[in-house]
């Protein structure tokens, strides 16, 4: 039987990357800063979001999509503070854009200024999946050890911000903040780092202010709105 070799040389995730790029452009147009929050399980992603929601309360409109393999426990914790929708992956180890888009349609009280997608706790698989976010934020807790960035290079390489969480435990664990930052910046030299404690709120203000500033700089919603009202091209 005749055979034929077809040369392709194309990224297997090319379709999904293109879909993510399209979604990112749409969110940029809408002035919504979208954050993909990743970490290992138990690093304190939900606690960090609770703390951020308290800081932004009444000032910055924030929505959350929260992914887990099962249960809606994280959504329950966040519901008193922000509009939230639980995404249950049914065993899958990461979120994909289609699931995020489906969840977003059900999320109440839109539009938002900031949308956070809390990914499934996993430092491996979510690294390969672009959800159309503007920023990937990786949380690393003080109890995990400062050697983690080098062990999960893909995740730290594809993140723009690292948040070292549970800083209140730093006096009790052998975690050196400088070592963690140095290890992470060896992989991603342009990574910005923050140190936070979700219980006291320490460091959360700096992180939130940075994100607000980023939104103003890169999404420029005020100017965009001005363009529509005035009909002028700036």
């Amino acid at each position: 039987m005749p055979m034929k070799t077809i040369n392709v040389n194309q990224d297997v995730l090319a379709d999904r990357r293109a879909a993510a790029e399209l979604q990112r452009r749409e969110w940029t147009e809408q002035g919504i800063l979208v954050i993909n929050l990743v970490s290992s399980p138990g690093a304190g992603k939900t606690s960090l979001l609770q703390s951020m929601a308290r800081y932004w309360s009444g000032r910055v409109r924030m929505g959350v999509l929260v992914g887990d393999l099962a249960t809606d426990r994280d959504a329950e914790r966040l519901r008193p503070l922000v509009p939230v929708e639980q995404l249950t992956t049914g065993g899958a180890c990461h979120l994909e854009l289609s699931l995020v888009q489906h969840g977003l349609r059900k999320l109440p009280s839109q539009p938002f200024e900031v949308l956070v997608i809390e990914n499934v706790g996993n430092l491996v698989c979510p690294a390969s999946h672009d959800l159309g976010e503007h920023l990937r934020v990786v949380a690393l807790s003080s109890t995990e050890g400062d050697d983690k960035p080098g062990k999960y290079p893909k995740m730290f390489r594809t993140s723009q911000i690292m948040v070292i969480t549970k800083s209140d435990l730093l006096p009790y664990v052998p975690f050196r903040v400088e070592a963690a930052i140095e290890d992470a910046q060896r992989i991603q030299p342009t990574l910005s780092s923050f140190v936070t404690c979700a219980i006291s709120g320490n460091g959360v203000e700096q992180l939130c202010d940075y994100l607000e500033h980023y939104r103003m700089q890169h999404l420029n919603p005020e100017r965009r709105r001005g363009e529509v009202v005035d009909g002028r091209v700036s």
Partner: protein
């Protein structure tokens, strides 16, 4: 287990190639896995074995090659291999490195089985 999701994406791509080239089925799928792709060749193989039976090309085989992580320095322009995921230019110690290869999974080529020519077997 994101290898399964990756294999499903791969199968969609191969499906389209078979259709576009009027093939009967795919016989061989050649893939390149980058060192920083986040994908383990062994896990990709086992996901492939689990799922290929449900595809339109159940007899297809998978061949994998691993590509090294290489980057170009935005400061001095030199290209080098990134060893141990240390993104520092070995020439100028610059830290603004742009990845050239090795951070993705690529479908390199597919061997298709084509239909027998209509006049085959005719003397």
């Amino acid at each position: 287990m994101h290898e399964e999701s990756l294999v499903r994406g791969l199968f969609q791509q191969v499906d389209r190639l078979v259709e576009k080239n009027c093939g009967v089925t795919a016989r061989e799928i050649n893939v390149e896995i980058g060192t920083l792709s986040g994908v383990e060749p062994e896990l990709l193989f086992s996901a492939f074995k689990r799922l290929v039976g449900q595809s339109a090309f159940p007899a297809a085989s998978l061949n994998v090659t691993v590509s090294l992580l290489t980057a170009c320095c935005e400061d001095c322009g030199s290209e080098s291999e990134v060893r141990d995921f240390r993104f520092v230019c070995p020439q100028c110690e610059g830290r603004r490195l742009h990845v050239i290869s090795g951070d993705s999974v690529r479908l390199l080529s597919v061997v298709l089985e084509l239909p027998e020519p209509e006049n085959s077997g005719v003397i």
